[in-house]
Symmetry: C2
């Protein structure tokens, strides 16, 4: 399993991903799910990946090859981020279909993959797109400034509460790390190292990039403070009022 | 959809359930999912239900009829809570199978139901059982003192963080309400009124029962304080350290 978040905010982008892959509970590996590409200087494009590892690796490799071999469609030739998303969707569909026939009859075989593409092409605003296994895609809105792929439910409440279009990037980064931490606690198939990228709009630079291992001091202290402070909040929550009590009836 | 929690703690039980049912997004209703039964004075048994509403209603009605008609197996004749769970599993399977044939060919027809049975029979400890659609069941442990049915992921992190076997019942109740609130925020098919029952071990009384409507003052203040205080915690979280930064490489 996987958990990745992309927040597209006023000031720029915040991308977060875990690194655990598993093909069965006894086949666990570590792969970064944040992929960056050697594109020309007028653009920065990052891909987050979830789903079948063979498919996501094949897609990422094809995207890199297309840049290197300067094929007609590639991350360097697209004019808009949405074109880049469409192009990834096309490659993803091709790679998923390659092994479908061979896998028929094996009910557990699932070659699907989901991606988030985020970045900026000079002259255009930064943005993020979630690309479904079918190749179609959606982007963020002012009201819904984030996208998630993989095991998204455990970590969604904290994003719903605190990620707003005008949240400062560092604060959004901490919010994503808390969301990631909640997911890692609740699902053993999501795990560290955690990658975090902060992209400031118009900077065309990917310099603010972090990797946190499981025993990273910062991540440990973040976890600890969050847990302790939440516990303190619990202790001051108001108590129920007798006014709200009512008999439990057997005929309701 | 549905969300129900049962915590089986040292001091007793805490049960929480929502009340929204939906058969499609344009067919939404309000039904309590916390069912109590007119059993003899030496026992209290409560059932929480999730899944197909026709199935859960048929099961609850059959359970009530069996008590009334004093059939050989019913909530009054069982000697152990686990026998009650097994009996509910049997009735549930029967009711699910009734309509399976008629529904074949309709891929969206799903008659399955999941239950939590909780309570106490005099002379035995209180307990809680999660009864799967297949009729088998599991109970809690000291390390895992709670069970969830329905839309369980959004609200699990807060339970994982704070519900312990020795958590006082009122505090556990507030924890379950926060968990319910997070789920209601993130999934439109889970909704108020919220039922909450606190059962003190050996009391054989269901008097501490609450129902909170959507605009209930207590629930609103709980939500508001939780949101505000969490926001304050966010503001004091430590900032990332440059030490953890690393270049994003295109060949990793």
């Amino acid at each position: 399993m996987t958990y990745c978040i992309a927040a597209s905010l006023k000031e720029g982008l915040v991308l977060t991903s875990d690194s655990r892959t598993n093909a069965g509970i006894d086949s666990v590996g570590i792969y970064s799910k944040m992929h960056v590409f050697d594109t020309s200087a007028d653009r920065k494009i990052v891909l987050l990946s979830a789903g079948n590892l063979a498919t996501t690796q094949a897609v990422v490799e094809q995207l890199r090859r297309d840049i290197k071999e300067q094929t007609s469609s590639n991350f360097d030739t697209v004019h808009y981020l949405s074109d880049a998303a469409e192009y990834v969707g096309k490659i993803s569909l091709e790679k998923q279909h390659l092994n479908v026939e061979a896998g028929q009859g094996q009910s557990s075989f699932n070659p699907t993959a989901t991606f988030i593409l985020a970045g900026q092409i000079k002259g255009e605003r930064h943005g993020a797109y979630l690309i479904y296994p079918e190749g179609n895609f959606i982007t963020t809105s002012v009201q819904t400034p984030f996208l998630q792929i993989g095991e998204h439910k455990y970590g969604k409440p904290v994003l719903d509460r605190f990620l707003r279009i005008d949240t400062p990037l560092e604060e959004a980064g901490r919010c994503c790390l808390i969301s990631m931490n909640s997911t890692i606690r609740s699902n053993a198939s999501v795990g560290a190292p955690v990658d975090l990228l902060i992209y400031r709009t118009d900077s065309l630079s990917l310099d603010e990039s972090y990797r946190f291992s499981e025993d990273n001091d910062y991540l440990i202290s973040l976890r600890k403070i969050w847990q302790e402070k939440l516990k303190e909040v619990f202790e001051i929550l108001p108590h129920f009022s007798k006014e709200d009590s009512r008999p439990l009836l057997s005929d309701q």
